[in-house]
C-alpha cells in the first residue's frame, strides 16, 4: 500500500515537472533552468525505477522494508539518493554473502558427491567380487545390474541375443522372478533350486529373490550349493558307515555273551576261546573309536605329535605284527621285504605305525583269499627312504584314484565288498605328508592290485648318528 503510494509520488512529481516543460518553454524560461529541471527529473525517475526493480528482485522482507523505509523518507532528494546507494550496497553485500554461501554449499555438495561416488565404486567392486551371482531386475523384468558370478552363470547356458535371453534359459529364475512379483514385500524371500551343467560338471544351485524396498525392482541371488551338498552327502554316508563299523564288533560280542550265558560252549576250553574273542572285539571297537577320534582331533588341530629319533623298520614291523593274524585268517600271504639297513627317522613312531597299519589292513581287506600282500622298505639315495605296499587284490578304478585320500570317501564298488569308514586313507595322508613331510603315491589296476609308494626324508636329530640330520618341521 505504502509502496504504491510512494511509487506514484516518486513517478508523478517528475512527470509533472516534465509535463510543465512545454509550459516553461512557452513562458520563455531560460534553457539552463529547463536542462536542470530535466536532469533532476531524470535522476529522480531513474532512482525510483532502480528502487522498484531492485526491490522486486530482492524479494526479501528486509529489502522491502528498506524500500518502504526509503520511500517514506520524503526528505531532500540527496538523502533519497544516498539511501538508494546504501541500499544497493547492502543488496550487493547480501548477494555476495549469499554467493559465498552458495559456493560453500556447492563445495560441500561436491565433497559429499565425491564420497558417495567412492562409496558407490566400493559397493560395485564388492558386489562384482561376490561368489554368488547377483541380479537386479526392474518390475518389468529388465536386467539393471549383474555381477561377474551372474554373468558366468548366464554364459554357462550358452550365447544368446542378450543377457535377458540367457537368463531365460534357466527356467527356474524367471519363474522365481514372477513369483516374487506376484507377492508383495511382506511375503519375504522366495526360494528356488535348480541344476545346471557348468562345463562338464552338473552343479546344484540355490536361488533367492526379494522385492527391493520402495518397489524399485527385484534382487535375485544365486548360490552354488554343489560343494555343500557333496559334503552333506559324504557326511551322511560317513555316519552310516561309522554306525555300521561299530555294530559289527558289537554283534559278535552280543552273540558270544549270550552263548556263554546260555551255556552253549561245549567245554571250558571253548568258553575261554569265546572270552578271548569278546576281548578281541572290544579291542577292535576301541581302535575304531580311537581312529575316529584321532581324525576328529586332526580336523580340529588338537592332535599331539611326539617326535623322536626312531628306526623306520621297527615301526613297519610293529604294524606288520598286528596284521599277521588278520591275513592268516583270510589265507592271504603277507611278505616282508624290509631293508637290512638302519633307516633313521625323526618322527612320531605311533602315528607312522598306525598309518602303515591302515595301509596293510586295506591291502588285506581288499584282497581275496589266497592273495598276497607285500611290504618293502629301502634307502633311496642317502637322504630318503621308500616304503612300498603292494597287493594283488581288487584294485581301485581310475576315476576313484584322485579321491581316495579324501575324508569319508569310499570307492563305490567297495561298499558291498567290505565295510569301512572312509577315514583310514585320509589319516594316512595326513600323517605321511603333513606330519612327516613325506609323499604318497598310488598305482592301481582293477582286478590286478594296488601299489602304495611312500617317500620320507631320513635323519635323526641327535648328532651322534653319522647320517646328516634333515630339517624336518619342528614339533607342534
Amino acid at each position: 500500500m505504502h509502496r504504491r503510494r510512494n511509487i506514484v509520488t516518486a513517478i508523478g512529481i517528475p512527470t509533472l515537472v516534465v509535463g510543465l516543460l512545454p509550459a516553461a518553454c512557452a513562458y520563455s524560461l531560460t534553457a539552463e533552468i529547463v536542462v536542470a529541471a530535466v536532469c533532476l527529473t531524470g535522476s529522480v525517475l531513474t532512482g525510483a525505477v532502480a528502487a522498484i526493480v531492485v526491490g522486486r528482485h530482492v524479494a526479501s522482507a528486509q529489502a522491502r522494508l528498506r524500500c518502504q523505509d526509503l520511500c517514506t523518507r520524503r526528505g531532500a532528494g540527496v538523502g533519497f539518493l544516498s539511501g538508494i546507494v546504501d541500499e544497493a550496497a547492502r543488496i550487493v553485500d547480501s548477494a555476495e554473502s549469499r554467493a559465498a554461501d552458495a559456493a560453500a554449499l556447492r563445495a560441500q555438495f561436491e565433497a559429499r558427491e565425491h564420497i558417495q561416488n567412492v562409496r558407490l565404486a566400493q559397493l560395485e567392486a564388492a558386489i562384482e567380487m561376490l561368489r554368488d551371482g547377483v541380479f537386479v531386475l526392474d518390475n518389468e523384468g529388465r536386467l539393471q545390474l549383474d555381477n561377474l558370478a551372474a554373468r558366468q552363470l548366464m554364459d554357462a547356458v550358452g550365447a544368446a541375443e542378450d543377457r535377458l535371453e540367457q537368463l531365460e534359459k534357466i527356467p527356474a529364475l524367471p519363474k522365481l522372478f514372477q513369483e516374487c512379483l506376484r507377492k508383495n514385500r511382506s511375503a519375504g524371500r522366495q526360494l528356488a533350486e535348480f541344476e545346471l551343467r557348468v562345463g562338464d560338471e552338473p552343479r546344484t544351485f540355490g536361488a533367492m529373490a526379494e522385492r527391493m524396498p520402495g518397489n524399485r525392482g527385484i534382487v535375485m541371488v544365486v548360490t552354488d550349493r554343489t560343494e555343500t551338498e557333496l559334503a552333506r552327502t559324504r557326511h551322511a554316508e560317513f555316519v552310516s558307515s561309522v554306525s555300521h563299523e561299530l555294530k559289527t564288533p558289537m554283534a559278535s560280542i552280543k552273540a558270544y555273551i549270550e552263548l556263554l550265558m546260555d551255556g552253549d560252549a561245549a567245554d571250558a576250553e571253548e568258553q575261554q576261546e569265546l572270552y578271548g574273542f569278546i576281548d578281541g572285539q572290544i579291542d577292535r571297537l576301541t581302535e575304531m573309536v580311537n581312529e575316529m577320534l584321532n581324525l576328529a582331533r586332526i580336523e580340529s588341530g588338537v592332535i599331539k605329535i611326539q617326535r623322536e629319533d626312531i628306526e623306520l623298520n621297527d615301526t613297519l614291523n610293529k604294524a606288520v605284527g598286528v596284521v599277521v593274524p588278520v591275513a592268516a585268517e583270510k589265507e592271504i600271504s603277507l611278505v616282508c621285504e624290509l631293508s637290512d639297513l638302519y633307516l633313521p627317522l625323526h618322527g612320531d613312531g605311533d602315528l607312522f605305525s598306525q598309518a602303515i597299519l591302515n595301509l596293510l589292513s586295506n591291502a588285506v581287506k581288499y584282497t581275496p583269499s589266497g592273495g598276497e600282500v607285500r611290504i618293502k622298505s629301502r634307502m633311496d639315495d642317502d637322504k630318503n627312504a621308500v616304503i612300498e605296499i603292494r597287493d594283488n587284490g581288487m584294485g581301485i578304478p581310475a576315476e576313484s584314484l584322485p579321491h581316495i585320500f579324501d575324508r569319508f570317501y569310499r570307492v563305490p564298488e567297495n561298499n558291498k565288498a567290505a565295510s569301512g569308514t572312509g577315514l583310514g586313507l585320509a589319516f594316512v595322508h595326513y600323517v605321511i605328508t603333513d606330519i612327516h613331510s613325506g609323499s604318497i603315491a598310488v598305482d592301481s589296476v582293477v582286478d590286478q592290485g594296488t601299489t602304495i609308494t611312500i617317500r620320507v626324508a631320513l635323519g635323526h636329530l641327535r648328532k651322534q648318528k653319522p647320517v646328516e640330520p634333515v630339517a624336518l618341521s619342528s614339533s607342534v
Binding site: 552310516s240 554283534a251 552273540a255 565295510s419
Partner: protein, 129 residues
C-alpha cells in the same frame, strides 16, 4: 533227519556264534563266507532254511537270494536276512520283494534267532532253549 541250515556271512565270529547255537539245538549247519559259496552249497544240497548277511564280498545277500529263487526247488526256501543296516533299509519292502521271511538287525540275539528258526520250520521249542 535234521533240518539243514546254510549260514552265510563274511564275519567269521557271526557264523561261529550262529552255528554253535543252531548245532546245539540239533540242526545240521553249513557255514559259507560269502554269497557265492552259499549259492554253491545250496545247489549241492537243498537247505531247509538259509540265514544270510547282506553285505558280503563277491555276491551279497540280495544276490544270493535272487540266485536261490531262480534255482529249481529252491525258490520257496525260507530266508532270514541279517544286516547291520537298520533303518537305512526298508524291511517290509525287502521282505516283499525278495520273499525274505524276516530281517534281523545286528547286533541280534542268538536266542531270538533260534526261536525264529524254530517257528519258521514249525518246530516245537525244545525244553531249555
Amino acid at each position: 533227519m535234521n533240518h539243514r541250515i546254510i549260514v552265510c556271512d563274511d564275519d567269521l565270529h557271526i557264523t561261529r556264534a550262529v552255528s554253535m547255537k543252531l548245532r546245539r539245538a540239533g540242526f545240521d549247519v553249513e557255514v559259507c563266507r560269502d554269497g557265492r559259496y552259499g549259492l554253491e552249497a545250496s545247489e549241492r544240497k537243498r537247505p531247509d532254511l538259509v540265514i544270510t548277511d547282506y553285505q558280503m564280498p563277491r555276491l551279497d545277500g540280495f544276490g544270493l537270494i535272487a540266485g536261490l529263487r531262480e534255482l529249481p526247488g529252491l525258490d520257496e526256501v525260507p530266508v532270514i536276512l541279517l544286516t547291520a543296516k537298520g533303518y537305512e533299509l526298508d524291511h517290509e519292502q525287502i521282505k516283499a520283494e525278495f520273499r525274505v521271511t524276516e530281517v534281523l538287525v545286528k547286533p541280534f540275539s542268538p536266542r531270538e534267532l533260534l526261536s525264529l528258526v524254530n517257528s519258521i520250520l514249525a518246530i516245537e521249542a525244545p525244553v531249555g532253549a
